[in-house]
């Protein structure tokens, strides 16, 4: 269960108080009625779904009730930071990013890293 810093409550709170609300920074077009099919598809259906840093929305639904944004690494599930709705994507420092990276490629699953061409015995 995640621990999420609510930028309004200024505190880390348990995930049970929150509702995930999907990708962040998808702005509803001002001229909604007039956008193209393609733009509508982009707006409503296409998602970044990054393996790495994701910008996402949460709602502190069982807390202050506010929607807010977060940057999280989708492999380590660690948050870099959360910020209020309407704020721009934060500038991230290298150190901030490195702090949330999973240990190395193919982990944490401890995936095997066997190589080819090995002889077989037995």
């Amino acid at each position: 269960m995640l621990l999420i810093h609510c930028p309004y409550c200024e505190e880390e709170r348990p995930e049970l108080e929150f509702a995930g609300a999907g990708e962040a920074h998808i702005e509803r077009p001002k001229n909604m009625a007039d956008i193209s099919d393609e733009d509508f598809e982009k707006f409503f259906f296409i998602r970044e779904n990054q393996k790495g840093l994701v910008y996402e929305r949460w709602r502190h639904i069982h807390g202050c009730g506010r929607f807010f944004n977060a940057v999280r690494h989708s492999v380590s599930d660690k948050f870099i930071k959360t910020y209020k709705a309407g704020e721009k994507k934060p500038k991230l420092t290298k150190a901030e990013i490195e702090a949330v990276l999973p240990p190395a490629k193919n982990t944490p699953a401890n995936e095997p890293v066997y190589t080819d061409g090995a002889k077989q015995k037995g």
Binding site: M1, P14, A21, S76, D77, P102, N110, V113
Partner: protein, 1012 residues
């Protein structure tokens, strides 16, 4: 001579608690005994015994049968890693627990223990035939056969395989025990209470920070409890541990939890613990929960989880009487029990030497100590010689014999063939130790392989934790304590605690854990007929691993899945390293390149009930009821579940079935009046200067011109243009709307509204408040509705002019405030009386008192559904299903045609949504007027079409209309709006129903009644 003195101890063993008790050994009091039964035989144990120690005391090794070959199996370990000794334990018939590890189950008075997976008895099990057929059923054999004839898999092969597999028998009765849960927070969580854990806990506690200190065993102390030689600050390990624990127990900032397993390490430093509370008690109070699930969020976690000894892989290494050396040491030093009288020891690790010494010193005969290493520390050899133990270094045990218990072992030089057969009644073995990195691995840390010591160790940490002691590969007691001290001080520093530099205790005479063997020992093949077990419970042998590799399964995950090694209830705690090493050897690759299986929660099996905790029965889910609920209960209403709500479904009178009750409720309502509890509908108060603007965005309808005091039926879409919710909205003032939603939709509608408001239009001055439960809603519908409520209402003109259909007024009813809506979901003159929740029941009763003599009936949701269908009103979720547009549902009149924006405006313009021929809502009249079609029935044009039959729609709502005297239905049909009058067919299982497409408004299409 010292030795002969010790021998005397044996003769003084307590008589009825087992012949293998050794007086003066262990920490149990010989004065306190309990009795239990094992396979029907009554035995006496000492209080504090585990089932395993009690059985061993009585000389019982044979306790189970293996999974596949049904081989006789004995107790192998003394802790949670035990793969063999899985026992069925019961208190009574409902409190029966299969697959309990005898090594961790404390014996209590009256306990009933039974062996498992054997038929007809433990000593004679017909399943053992599999053992003799072993060569025909290697790893993965089932993938290669049982394919012909095809039908035989379901009918023959699978049932046979299934009944042979499985271990214990699942409980058959509902579990009468209850379980508890607890969220907890602490600064430092210390897992494991050996020397390292105790050191960490003690330092953390003294800093004043909050500490939770857990150990899976009944007592704190870890391996110190089994260690007979170490001295810490001049005290025995046990005394040192005891003193530390006493000190910790006295501190307010420390929570000590024994019999508590940290089994899961979740994101962001949350660790799950399960605390055993009653399973060791003879007479637990009924208030005590059986187990408690702890979810601990810790700032820092110190993992002192220790290491687990491995067995050695050689032929027939699984006979009862063959045991881990450390286990024997535990049985001796903690429980005063020797596992045999004539013991052989086979090891690749120094620690087993110490076990041999302890046993020998206690007077047990150590027949031979075989070590497969080329050389061994001379001090150990000297000590063995001193004790008179015969040592055979650079030798190996290559096979054993004895059907139900080992009776001999065959020893060969590691590099020779010369066989010596030695009679033993017990064989202790040690392949060295495997650090318990399970929790570390669960925390998504990365391990590294230490090839010199053959162990995986914590390398890169992902969570706020640190590993100390033998789980970190630090085996030496003194080093482990020092490491724990340093790590704890660092951790405390990280969380801003002041930790005084601890003075390290002086450690003397601690045993060595040097030396190891992973993979096959001599005698594990390459002769592929021998069974050298890696995974005891799943009967995986060295040759199975080799076969898997030969067949191309190269990754350890493949090997594991193909052979099932490591997938038994012990999750490979002893076997994983062996499996990996043999696979690596066969592949001729270094171990890390073959991979290590990821560890997942739980560390040891955890009861479902402990997860469930309080959430069962009444507390499985919230049951929401309205203020009038009890009245309906008293009237004998039948309820239906709608979301979390219980809603009155219908009110049967004596002798009535649902059909009759509903027909009567509808008829009475239409002829006189009906009273209906509409309290569950969602209500949202939309308030602020931008309220209209907001309503215009959220609903397809235009709201600017809705006058104060008037209501409108609103449709809400998602951006994709499909109907999301609907409801009547009343305007209370220029800046205040009373919005209603569907019962099930209330939370998501409010959430969606908040989403738009907060994130797209934060500058708008409008606020949303749920008032669903502020208001109890009493629907009064029918020609006599006005007459019924008029005398109760103050300050509102109820006439058609004063309060026309679709209006709302604020006033009083029965002297309390009301928001009185004139609206109808039945097609009759109707009112919805909103009163404050606490007054709901009383006002309802006042209305009932007025209405009953006038013929008013209470009606439930079913009659409500019938009456609204007669009027062609849709129910979102029944007549629409998330793929229906307002146009499809024939409510496109509710779309503001001049609006330039609303949620769904663009989605509705998409090609497929404006295409001709979409499924559209229509009415259906069956050709046979009394036939009520089943809801969900499909509609076709050509009922004689062969399967698959093209379907053009389906029936969404269908009822018997008592008022109309015929059945009515609604459905969605391709291009339905343009097919009025056409005949379509509804093929049922045994007949075909013809129906005519018609308007969905069946009743009072002119609307005279509703406006009356």
């Amino acid at each position: 001579m010292a030795q002969s003195k010790r021998v005397e101890h044996v003769s003084t063993s307590t008589e009825n608690t087992g012949a293998n008790r050794i007086a003066g050994k262990g920490r149990l009091s010989p004065a306190k005994t309990v009795s239990f039964t094992f396979d029907g035989k009554t035995l006496t144990a000492l209080e504090g015994d585990t089932l395993a120690s009690a059985l061993l005391a009585h000389g019982i090794h044979l306790v189970g049968r293996s999974f596949k070959y049904h081989r006789p199996r004995g107790i192998l370990a003394a802790g949670p890693e035990e793969p063999n000794a899985l026992i069925d334990i019961s208190r009574d018939s409902a409190r029966r627990q299969p697959n309990v590890r005898a090594t961790v189950q404390t014996v209590y008075d009256g306990m009933i223990a039974k062996s498992q997976n054997r038929f007809p008895s433990l000593s004679f099990d017909v399943g053992v035939a599999n053992d003799y057929l072993g060569r025909f059923i290697p790893a993965g054999f089932y993938y290669k056969t049982f394919m012909w004839p095809r039908k035989a898999w379901d009918k023959l092969y699978e049932p046979v395989i299934r009944s042979a597999a499985g271990l214990g028998i699942a409980p058959k009765e509902a579990d009468p025990d209850h379980y508890a849960s607890r969220f907890a927070h602490c600064d430092v969580l210390v897992v494991g209470s050996g020397a390292a854990g105790l050191t960490a806990a003690s330092i953390a506690a003294k800093s004043g920070k909050n500490v939770i200190f857990v150990d899976e065993n009944a007592s704190f102390g870890g391996s110190l409890l089994s260690d007979s030689t170490s001295r810490i600050d001049g005290q025995s390990g046990q005394d040192w541990a005891k003193n530390k624990v006493t000190e910790l127990a006295a501190m307010d900032n420390v929570t000590l939890l024994s019999r508590t397993t940290a089994f899961g390490y979740q994101s962001h430093n949350m660790v799950n613990l399960v605390e055993q509370i009653t399973d060791h008690l003879a007479q637990p109070g009924s208030n005590l929960p059986r187990e408690r699930m702890w979810q601990v969020r810790a700032k820092k976690v110190i993992l002192a989880t220790g290491a687990i000894e491995r067995h050695l892989v050689f032929a027939d290494n699984d006979r009862p009487g063959i045991m881990l050396a450390s286990a024997a040491q535990t049985y001796l030093n903690q429980y005063g029990v020797t596992p045999g009288r004539s013991i052989g020891v086979y090891t690749a690790c120094d620690s087993a030497w110490h076990a041999a010494f302890d046993l020998k010193k206690a007077g047990v005969s150590i027949v031979a100590l075989i070590d497969c290493r080329e050389t061994v520390n001379q001090d150990l050899i000297n000590q063995a010689n001193e004790l008179g133990i015969k040592t055979m270094v650079n030798h190996a045990v290559t096979s054993t014999s004895g059907r139900l218990r080992i009776n001999s072992m065959t020893v060969q030089p590691v590099n020779g063939e010369n066989k010596t057969v030695i009679a033993v009644d017990c064989l202790l073995m040690s392949g060295g130790w495997t650090p318990s990195v399970h929790l570390f691995s669960q925390s998504r840390g990365r391990v590294k392989f230490d090839a010199e010591r053959g162990i995986f160790l914590p390398d890169v940490y992902m969570e706020e934790c640190t590993s100390v002691g033998s789980c970190n590969g630090t085996y030496d007691l003194s080093d482990a304590i020092a490491e724990a001290a340093t790590a704890t001080e660092t951790a405390l520093g990280d969380i801003g605690a002041k930790a005084r530099k601890a003075k390290l205790p002086k450690v003397e005479d601690s045993p060595s854990m040097h030396g190891f063997l992973i993979g096959a020992a001599k005698g594990a093949g390459p002769d592929d007929f021998v069974k050298a077990f890696i995974d005891f419970q799943n009967d995986v042998t060295a040759k199975d691993i080799r076969l898997a590799v030969r067949e191309g399964f190269q990754s350890i995950e493949h090997v594991k899945r193909y052979t099932t090694t490591g997938m038994a209830t012990d999750q490979g705690k002893m076997s994983n390293m062996h499996g990996l090493a043999i696979a690596a050897e066969t592949l001729d690759k270094p171990i890390p390149e073959v991979g290590l299986t990821t560890f997942r929660a739980p560390y040891t099996p955890v009861t479902f009930g402990a997860f469930v905790g309080h959430a069962k029965g009444d507390l499985f889910d919230v049951t929401r009821t309205t203020p009038m609920h009890e009245w309906a209960v008293d009237q004998g209403a039948v309820f239906e579940d709608v979301g979390n709500w219980k809603r009155a479904w219908y009110f049967p009178q004596a002798g009535e079935d649902m059909h009759a009750a509903v027909a009567r409720e509808c008829k009475q309502t239409r002829e006189a009046a009906g009273i209906f509890d509409a309290s569950t509908l969602g209500k949202i108060e939309v308030v602020g200067p931008d309220a209209v603007k907001f309503m215009n965005l959220m609903y397809t309808n235009p709201w600017d011109k809705l006058a104060v005091g008037r209501c409108r039926y609103g449709i809400m879409c998602r951006e994709d243009g499909f109907i999301y919710d609907d409801g009547v909205v009343g305007r209370l003032s220029e800046e205040r709307f009373h919005v209603t939603t569907t019962t099930g939709g209330a939370p998501r509608v409010l959430n969606m509204m908040e989403d738009y408001l907060q994130t797209e239009f934060p500058e708008w001055k409008v606020w949303l408040t749920s008032t669903s439960e502020q208001w109890a809603v009493i629907g009064v519908q029918g020609p006599k509705a006005r007459e019924i409520i008029e005398p109760l209402v103050e300050g509102i003109d109820l006439s058609s002019e004063g309060l026309p259909h679709m209006s709302v007024r604020e006033g009083k009813i029965c002297g309390v405030p009301t928001r009185l809506f004139r609206m109808s979901f039945t097609g009759e003159t109707g009112f919805e009386i909103n009163v404050h929740g606490d007054y709901g029941r009383s006002v309802w009763e006042a209305v009932w008192k007025r209405g009953a003599p006038l013929g008013m009936v209470p009606y439930g949701t079913e009659a409500m559904h019938v009456m609204r269908a007669e009027k062609g009103y849709i129910i979102v979720g029944q007549d629409t299903d998330g793929t229906v547009t307002p146009h499809d549902a024939a409510v496109d009149w509710a779309i503001g045609k001049k609006k330039t924006d609303f949620v769904g405006i663009r989605g509705l313009k998409r090609k497929d949504l404006v295409a001709e021929g979409r499924r559209q809502l229509v009415g259906l009249k069956t050709r046979q007027p009394d036939y009520v079609i089943e809801e969900g029935a499909q509609i076709v044009e050509d009922p004689n079409h062969p399967v698959p039959v093209p379907m053009i729609g389906f029936v969404t709502s269908s009822y018997w209309s008592e008022s109309l005297g015929h059945s009515i239905a609604m459905g969605v049909i391709d291009n339905g709006h343009k097919r009025m009058g056409e005949t379509v067919y509804v093929p049922m299982k045994d007949e075909v129903i013809a129906a005519e497409i018609c308007s969905p408004v069946f009743y009072d299409p002119e609307g005279g009644r509703v406006n009356a």
